[in-house]
């Protein structure tokens, strides 16, 4: 049934359908509406779960760690500073191979403090061992929660669903929420083989040294690689059952005969598609590729999609300060390994909530050179209104 829902509400409703037994959270904008809704559901008796108000995000992450280790399905959500405060625990959850699911309501990181959306927060966790799915719409956010639990529990890997703060969390869209029985059918109850249980005492989180530590990391890497077909398969299965798919790892748009392809993540891709349509109408052979699954990084799939492109642009909402575009750098490496030598233009924009309007995105398509010779990235042009000409100087 379709309902007009704020992104946060849609996510909370979808999480609730997954029957989490423990929900722990600490308030931070723009994530707070998600946990407020879950708290209300628990208070109303609509969701049978322990709702734990943590003393910090560090505590919230630790609570869901403990809950999953004890065999319960758990949920938490955060953003920005909160995600960074969780960092030590998030690495630990991944190392312990606990299938925790969380939402990152993507927000800029201070200083200067800024509550609006970019991807700097979750990109900082890219090496932590979490699967990261970047969603485009409220519908996809809700559906991805249900997929996320299935993926996490099948792969024994934690999953972070990344949704743009405000652009999604605070925006109302019609969302089709599945019925409980259908979700129960798709997502079986959680049985954790390594759960803490006196009848089968196990030691979790002991010390490791040089003779075996690397094997743990190697096993995590292998599990991440193995997760790629799982993510695709569950998206396809979701499509069969609910009639909606979200691209699995990647979602292509008008890549047929496309000479120029713009790659990006998250909610900005809706505007990108509009711009692609406009430029196609003008006779330009452009297309778009949405990277839904950033971790594991689908290097081979990307190379396949981009093998025919003559010009590749990555527009991303985070920067590795001192290096440049993160997705662009990884894409360059992936293409190079695949023997594709097409240069990748790295464009960084939308930081701290700055609007990536269709006009800005069109300008990104039309710019053909980096700012200076040898530059590995450029910033997107500033706000452009239709009345103004595109600025030549994009610094």
């Amino acid at each position: 049934m379709k309902k007009l829902l704020e992104g946060s509400q849609a996510v909370a409703e979808a999480v609730s359908l997954c029957r989490p037994q423990v929900v722990a959270a600490y308030p931070i904008t723009p994530q707070t509406h998600i946990i407020e809704r879950l708290a209300q559901q628990v208070a109303n008796g609509e969701l049978e779960a322990e709702f734990i108000n943590a003393e910090s995000e560090f505590g919230a992450a630790s609570i869901v760690l403990g809950a999953v280790a004890a065999g319960a399905r758990a949920f938490t959500a955060t953003a920005s500073q909160g995600l960074l405060l969780m960092t030590e625990v998030l690495y630990n959850i991944a190392g312990l191979r606990l299938p925790v699911v969380m939402v990152c309501a993507n927000r800029a990181v201070g200083a200067p403090i800024n509550i609006f959306s970019d991807h700097q927060d979750s990109m900082a966790l890219r090496d932590s061992g979490w699967i990261q799915l970047y969603v485009e719409s409220n519908q996809e956010a809700a559906d991805s929660m249900i997929q996320a639990y299935r993926i996490a529990e099948a792969c024994e890997l934690p999953v972070m669903v990344c949704m743009d703060g405000f652009f999604l969390t605070h925006t109302f869209e019609p969302v089709d929420l599945p019925i409980q029985a259908a979700v129960d059918d798709f997502l079986p109850p959680f049985h954790f083989a390594r759960a803490l249980d006196p009848s089968r005492p196990m030691t979790l989180g002991g010390a490791s040294e040089a003779d075996n530590y690397q094997e743990y990391r190697s096993a995590q890497q292998a599990a991440m690689e193995d997760a790629q077909p799982v993510i695709e398969a569950f998206d396809a299965e979701f499509d069969d059952q609910f009639g909606r798919a979200h691209g699995g790892l990647l979602q292509a748009y008008r890549l047929d005969e496309a000479q120029t392809v713009l790659l990006g993540m998250g909610s900005l891709m809706g505007a990108v598609r509009d711009v692609v349509d406009k430029l196609r109408d003008q006779g330009q052979a452009v297309g778009a590729l949405r990277l839904r699954c950033f971790r594991p990084f689908p290097a081979q799939a990307l190379a396949q999609y981009l093998s025919g492109a003559q010009r590749i642009i990555v527009l991303e909402k985070a920067i590795s300060i001192g290096a440049g575009g993160i997705v662009a750098a990884e894409l360059r490496a992936a293409l190079h390994q695949a023997g594709i030598m097409t240069p990748v233009e790295s464009v960084i924009g939308g930081l701290g909530g700055r609007d990536l309007t269709p006009e800005v995105i069109e300008a990104v398509f039309q710019e053909t050179t980096q700012d200076e010779a040898g530059a590995t990235f450029r910033f997107a042009p500033d706000h452009v209104t239709p009345d103004e000409p595109v600025r030549e100087d994009c610094s």
Partner: protein
């Protein structure tokens, strides 16, 4: 519980890698065998975690988890919430050192207590960061030498006072908080057993001498921890809902020097004028604690059943303000 039964469980088995005379290993063995294997144990980072789970070996015969240094109380909150959601009442026990309790773990501990989780939090207090090589913590007493509070021309060891963590914990109005040491096993046993009968957050601070960090003969761990009590520097107390309900009274007060002399961490205080000033300061701290908790008061309204029980061992007396009838009921 029958005396012979105390160590039947072997929750913490032999073969771990603690130093000889390790007070924490003794305390953990006492606590975990009193609680038994039908519990879930959460460990903060520290000596106990390292010496019991060295490189893919485990000395634990009960479900045990270690996550990171600061979060043991929050992990325990999650474990307890999960058990509640599943309708199970398996006891949940945290073990942490003073770093994981007084310093880096205090915020998670406070949250766990405030939310009323049914968890026993045990702090093995050895008064410094021993696992990293004896650095000062907020539990380190005044004037102690550690590697980060070294005595020198301008210093007589740690400048600041030991944090009064039991008062901070008790101020949460929690059901039960107590201090204990490895030197008084009947007292420690009574407190662990009492804690396990109570619902809600409970806290035990167990003074656990570290021969390496305190620089005393490893054969003296029990003696030194007894002297900490007998000098008044480490009062043994019980608090319920923030109120002091019992103390172990002292038959006589021993001078702090008797406690300080066997320990190399106080060696710099002897034989100098500035050291003598600090010794007087430490004696004054002991005196103040004795006055605060009435450790020498011959208060006749207190029930003396436990005092007599402990007196058999010639270790002072245990006094309680609880009525005798309630005492009997609780011990049943």
């Amino acid at each position: 519980m029958d005396k012979r039964d105390t160590f039947r469980h072997n929750v913490l088995t032999s073969g771990h890698r603690a130093c000889s005379g390790c007070g924490e290993a003794m305390a953990a063995r006492m606590v975990t065998d009193l609680i038994g294997p039908d519990a879930i144990y959460i460990n903060a980072t520290g000596c106990l975690q390292v010496f019991t789970t060295h490189n893919q070996q485990s000395a634990w015969q009960a479900p045990w988890i270690h996550s990171v240094f600061a979060n043991a109380a929050a992990v325990a909150s999650g474990v307890e919430a999960a058990l509640r959601a599943k309708g199970k009442d398996t006891p949940v026990v945290v073990q942490a050192g003073d770093g994981g309790t007084f310093d880096i773990g205090l915020q998670c501990l406070s949250g766990m207590i405030e939310r009323g989780h049914d968890v026993l939090f045990v702090c093995y207090d050895n008064e410094a960061y021993m696992n990293t090589g004896v650095q000062r913590s907020s539990s380190t007493p005044h004037a102690v030498r550690t590697t980060t509070s070294p005595p020198g021309r301008l210093s007589q060891g740690k400048h600041h006072l030991k944090k009064d963590v039991i008062s901070i914990i008790a101020a949460h109005h929690m059901p039960y908080a107590a201090t204990a040491t490895i030197a008084y096993f009947p007292d420690l046993k009574a407190k662990v057993e009492k804690a396990m009968r109570i619902q809600g957050p409970r806290f035990l601070q167990i003074l656990s001498p570290c021969p390496l960090g305190w620089a005393h003969d490893s054969a003296l761990s029990v003696t030194v921890s007894r002297l900490a009590v007998e000098t008044g520097l480490f009062p043994l107390v019980e608090l319920e809902h923030g109120e002091l309900i019992g103390v172990m009274r002292l038959a006589e007060q021993k001078p702090v020097e008797e406690y300080l002399r066997p320990q190399g961490r106080f060696k710099h205080l002897f034989g100098t004028k500035t050291g003598a000033v600090e010794l007087r300061h430490l004696q004054a701290l002991a005196d103040a604690r004795i006055r605060r908790y009435g450790l020498l008061d011959a208060d006749t309204q207190w029930d003396t059943a436990r005092a007599m029980q402990s007196a058999r061992h010639g270790r002072g007396g245990y006094a309680s303000s609880m009525p005798a009838s309630e005492e009997v009921k609780n011990d049943a």
